[in-house]
Symmetry: C2
Subunit: 367 residues, 2 copies
Amino acid sequence: MASSRRPGTAPPSRPEPSADGSPSRGGTPSGARPTSRDVARHAEVSQATVSLVMGGKWQGRVSPRTAETVRSAAQALGYRPNLAARSLRLGRTRTALLVVPALTHDYFARVHTGASRVAAEHDFGVVLYPSPEGTGPAVDPFGSARAALDGVIASSMAPEALAALRDGGQLPLVMLDSDPGAGHSPATVNLDIADGMRQAAAHLLELGHRRIAHLAAEIDTWTFGVRARALHEALAGTSGTVVRTERSPLSVEDALHAATRILEAAPRPTALVCDDDLLAAGACKAARRLGLRVPEDLSVTGIDDLSLATALEPELTTVRLPAEEVGAEGMRALLAVLDGRTASTPVLPVELIRRGSTARPPREERP
Amino acid sequence: MASSRRPGTAPPSRPEPSADGSPSRGGTPSGARPTSRDVARHAEVSQATVSLVMGGKWQGRVSPRTAETVRSAAQALGYRPNLAARSLRLGRTRTALLVVPALTHDYFARVHTGASRVAAEHDFGVVLYPSPEGTGPAVDPFGSARAALDGVIASSMAPEALAALRDGGQLPLVMLDSDPGAGHSPATVNLDIADGMRQAAAHLLELGHRRIAHLAAEIDTWTFGVRARALHEALAGTSGTVVRTERSPLSVEDALHAATRILEAAPRPTALVCDDDLLAAGACKAARRLGLRVPEDLSVTGIDDLSLATALEPELTTVRLPAEEVGAEGMRALLAVLDGRTASTPVLPVELIRRGSTARPPREERP
DNA sequence: CGCGGCTAGTTATACGTACAACGTTCCCGA
DNA sequence: TCGGGAACGTTGTACGTATAACTAGCCGCG
């Protein structure tokens, strides 16, 4: 430890947080973060032993007494392993990238929450890739962060963006809400959106609706494609029909216009199935502007069960999506892949929440 | 390069992504990520030169011709610096922690978006700390991730959680929406919420309202404390008064109950100033259930301008908060502190958006 | 001719960790 | 008495990078 400083050995000058609230740990140097070597010195063992103990794999290699000594020394010094060094050594970073179209959509915020929760349980970190425009798909998730990732979880990616993802890195990839048959990824996590559409359709049929319109999202992802197909299939063979379909960007304002087009055309539907609660909100506004009451003159259903759904009046009948669970399962799947285990690829159930925006059709329309 | 493998020199076995879509770069080994040494070999220079060139500080140290050679070699190999190694060497990670109460509140999602945008411009990463409960303040942002952070940006922290933050790490800290006078942090970014309240009050006074109630958020953070004080100050010396204040958790359902208490008490206010759009939504529901029309019988204002604000009917008059700008300025401030520059501590302007939920009070109430 | 000063590099580390391979005791049975 | 293990550690790297300190030409000037 004497100053045997050879040429080219000057350490990079750390800014040293300057005298302030530094807790002045019992550590060796002064204000610097303690390293495993400091702990070793403190516990009078070698650095390797500290590493073994802290790594938890000391069974039969270190005596319980020594292990305890090391642990308390680490505790006393406030030691925390340096993640950069660990990553460098292991070649893994314990960090996952979560790619979502827009965090400002509550669904994705919830997906993130779920993924983060599971990640935290496994000492994993989550980095978000925010889409440039806030609505479009992600474009280049691989900035300089790329080398620091162990895997990618991507939600609702458009095909072209997906291709870029595959091209860019050979990182393990888990897809959420994406075509499980496309073979892009070893693992997928999906919602049983088709069943949600079936539930919505069944609910409306049961109430007596026959002329049903579809307000679809103008987004070219698999999960939205499923919605349209499922609705048609659910009505096939029943007395109900999809009388009209309009597509709209995912905003209340745009949905208002699209819904207006639907409601002004003949024959006017008695129920409107919307791909998203935001669209349903727009539809409700459109109806009111045309002098139609919801649900007396028009029933409306959404998908998501955003907080918006209960803020509206009437409250929205909607298909609740277990967003957090999607994120959590996605992270579990990624962890499984990283572990070399085979990931389950669940399809999570959804549930129709019946509220005030659906009712029997107007009397003159009843069959 | 010959196999001069000394004892204890076995490299950690990397899983090797297995023959698949690996682009088979022109690199030296095979499937492993190319390092600066690979680039050096390719360009027939030393590793140090590669580092200099890639680091951008080669002015006067490397000839332009050599620099170009290095750059194209790096390009050809698809070289990307290993962030773990860089972090280890530099002692910095280029990663910031963003602590927010709940991402599912759109305001914080937008803060995150802004912070991420600025971070990306500076090759910085953002890690989110999700609150355990989704609504309460963050508790222990320092898991094993702690060592991998350069700084912290914290929004709307309750005092006790703030203390934990200060205790835990001596990391640079930027506070958002927090008391700039508390001296907890070298830098703060704030909204001129007080002015927002003044604008709302002035708007209501101008419309003729005199009996105004306050539906406050039941959250003990500085920014919500300011709202109450500012409203009272804005009405002081005018003909208007705050006839009643109720506090409510930040949810539509809770706000409905709190607003009901306000509206059932005498004297009934003609206008209701709410601390958040969510509360305003609850207030509108409450009014309608009591048979009051908005805005004819009751004017309502919110704060935030969530997408919810225009989904409701009538659309909400609300104080628009530049959330993204808050996040962006917060990240700029943190970067400044990390650079040793003094951070500006801006107070961002807010703007009242007049929409359908406010109007003149009922005729019999007019002064 | 010699030497300072520049240019254009190279060499030699160290950052903090994890782990393979190598001691060192100590005990036990033959 | 001695060989053979366990049991318990330690030594010695290497991961990939950034940078201080050194070096080899080369020019020009005294």
